[in-house]
């Protein structure tokens, strides 16, 4: 019997539901036959089984090979570096948050990390103790503070309400994840201006050793990436359709191509419109122009189509854009070869 490829997904926390929604938007609906179990299936890719785990455990399972693939946060991956973990896609586009240095808002003399460095020295020299930092990210916190030239501090391991640590008195400042900053402000904390340690979002990881040794897993990953890349590419485009009058399709095409926003991925598709109630004036005919345009060019494209006589312009989101091959897969293969 063929072995399934296991994809570990977060079972709880801020990125759990968004992960299911993301995969659904990619055409990869996750089914959970038994709500009480921690397993599921991906009907679109039957050879992949889903395993639900806590966010940190996704990483551990992929590292030890129990799961071959996983989705977790970049913050988790950077906090627990492992030589057998490879980041396959670092920008899934959801789960955005930042790991930041936050200090009490009453520290009006603290704007940047230079200030934090001085305050750390003040603690040691005048209070004869180290600055205490509450965090669940000791590895990233250490590396960041060392890079800032700050070496005298004590990390306080805090699970739960880290934001309350300075108020409760068991830490002086914190390093924690934030999305909007609301929780920090409500706890009378402020983010240090250059104190952003990691900009995190959801990422796709894999076990490097398995990818090199098991072609079936690599193939399953390629299919997964086709869906993901196709869907993510699709978000960047719209399909725009407009009716434009012209002597012939070539003339219409030339008018459309006058603006770079309306040149499409390769060029417009132009089809004649039949059975028109109101034909255009002179020796012109109605044509339907269909182009795929970049989402950022939507309004310039519509303006140009109007300018060249376009009417009834409709816009539909693009579900997928499949290029020659999945760019993420190409980069992954290069990365795997480079590490041999």
């Amino acid at each position: 019997m063929d072995t399934m490829t296991t994809l570990a997904l977060p079972s709880k926390g801020a990125i759990a539901d968004p992960t299911i929604a993301f995969l659904r938007d990619c055409g990869l609906r996750v089914e959970k036959p038994n709500q009480r179990q921690y397993t599921g299936i991906l009907p679109a890719i039957p050879s992949i089984a889903v395993l639900f785990q806590r966010v940190n455990d996704v990483l551990y399972k992929v590292a030890d090979g129990t799961a071959q693939l996983g989705i977790t946060g970049l913050d988790v991956v950077y906090e627990h570096p492992h030589e057998d973990i490879v980041i396959v896609h670092d920008r899934l586009g959801y789960g955005h948050c930042s790991l930041v240095v936050a200090v009490p808002e009453l520290w009006v003399d603290a704007d940047n990390m230079l200030d934090v460095a001085e305050i750390a020295l003040d603690f040691r020299e005048h209070k004869r103790r180290n600055l205490r930092i509450a965090t669940k990210y000791p590895t990233l916190t250490r590396q960041f503070f060392h890079r800032q030239g700050i070496h005298h501090f004590t990390l306080v391991n805090a699970e739960g309400a880290i934001e309350a640590a300075p108020t409760l008195g068991y830490a002086d400042i914190i390093v924690d994840l934030t999305q909007t900053g609301t929780t920090l402000r409500e706890n009378h904390l402020k983010v240090i201006s250059d104190g952003i340690i990691v900009e995190s979002q959801a990422c796709l990881i894999a076990n490097r050793v398995t990818l090199k040794n098991d072609p079936a897993v690599l193939q399953d990953l390629r299919i997964l990436l086709e869906f993901i890349d196709g869907a993510l590419n699709g978000r960047n485009y719209y399909q725009v359709t407009a009716n434009i009058a012209g002597e012939n399709p070539q003339v219409v095409a030339q008018k459309v191509a006058l603006n770079v926003a309306t040149r499409g991925l390769q060029g417009p598709t132009i089809a004649p419109i039949f059975g028109v109630d109101r034909p255009p004036a002179g020796d012109q005919f109605w044509f339907t122009v269909t182009i795929i345009i970049a989402a950022s060019d939507l309004l310039p494209a519509v303006e140009h189509l109007r300018a060249i006589g376009g009417t009834q312009t409709t816009v539909t989101p693009v579900r997928y854009v499949f290029l020659e091959q999945s760019s993420s897969f190409v980069r992954l293969v290069e990365k795997l070869h480079a590490s041999t």
């Binding site: 520290w107 009006v108 940047n112 180290n130 070496h151």
Partner: protein
Amino acid sequence: MLPGRIHDPEQSRQLLARLEQHMGLYGYRSFFVPIIEDADLFLIKAGDQIINQLFTFERHGRQLALRPEFTAAAAYYYAQQFGEGAPVMRWQFSGTVFEDTDRGARERLSAGAELVGLAGPAADAEIIALAALGTTVLGCSEWRLTIGHAQIIRQVLARYEFDSRTERFLLHHLPLFRGATADSPAVIERLDSFLDQHNRDEMPDRLQFRTLALDETRPAQFVGGRTQEDIARRLHQKQQRRARRADIMDAIRVLSRWIHLKHDDPAGAFPFMRSLAAGDPRLGAVVDEWSQTIELLRSYQLPDDHIRIQPDLARSWDYYTGIVFELTAPDGVRLGGGGRYDELVQLVGGQRSVPAVGFAYYLDALFSRLPVPDADETVSVVLVCDSTSARQAVEWAQALRARGIRTVLLSGASDERQQHGGPLRRLVVTDSGAVMWQDSTYQLDHLPDLVTDLIGG
């Protein structure tokens, strides 16, 4: 495993025993430091940047480390045991210390001493002499002693009342000031880069500042470990920093005069240092205290030509608070070092500051420079027997050992490879209980004859 000419653990043990005896003569008692401690203890002392050199592991949610040195644990023990009191303790230590390197974990032998609870030149001189004379006791007389004083530089800077960041900038760049004048492009560029960093600070809101600094209706509450006074004081310093460029340049010129002292002439250095300190009573007091320490070293008969003065010698400005010294070989290799660290006991949990001074040897380097010891001439005996003569063999072995002869029992099938230095005599115990050696046979009641013959060879 020690590098160099001495590899024999037995020889290392003997050398450590001589060191222990030497330090014991000064009243230093052996102090046993746990091998495993909370990692934080060492990080507090040396700074978090050593985390990658510490051999750490987690156990029951605590991060622990194998000791990289002895001083932090000694200070911690003192802080825990002696509370309000501050008795004088003289401790010596020796043993294995551990570090984690790129090439893997490494262990090495270390030895040294701590004098806790005593301030002043007499204590400083005692520790320095203990360290230097210890190398002589071991047989290494070719050492050099470089002595600095962390308070000299700190007192020079104290008159300017710089903020801690500016002080750190100046301390960190002392090597640069040694090699260049205050007005040199390298110094100017570094200074302007430092000041430019702070020019980017936004000025705090004036109303916010006044509200914070002058609001007497608020109690002096702590916010994240700092009071309003702390915050207001630092705000004031930040505002003043940009205006201090001229003062910083002046401080660099003054520092340069100190660190360009003639180093190899202790006698000549102190009058010059007193002239530099003229007009600054605190600085003058530090120079006087330092001078007394050097004078006392002469009473310990440390040769003047082995001593050099270097005011800016400080391996860590975060740690040393007074005298700092290094023992080196003529080729510059460090054999040991130490200094005064009056703040450590409080940093590791003590209720107040306790004066302390100590040192440690780099035993790998020191042992590798010792003369190879003479071959061990102690006679050793191997008694060979079989099962029928085992009981008599034991009686013979005990009798020989009572006469101070090192004796090893071997059954007929055992490996006879020599394990000890010196001549090895092979004796065979017969079934009748006699011992045969060379062509002679001895009975137990003729033991003195056997011993004479064995030693005579």
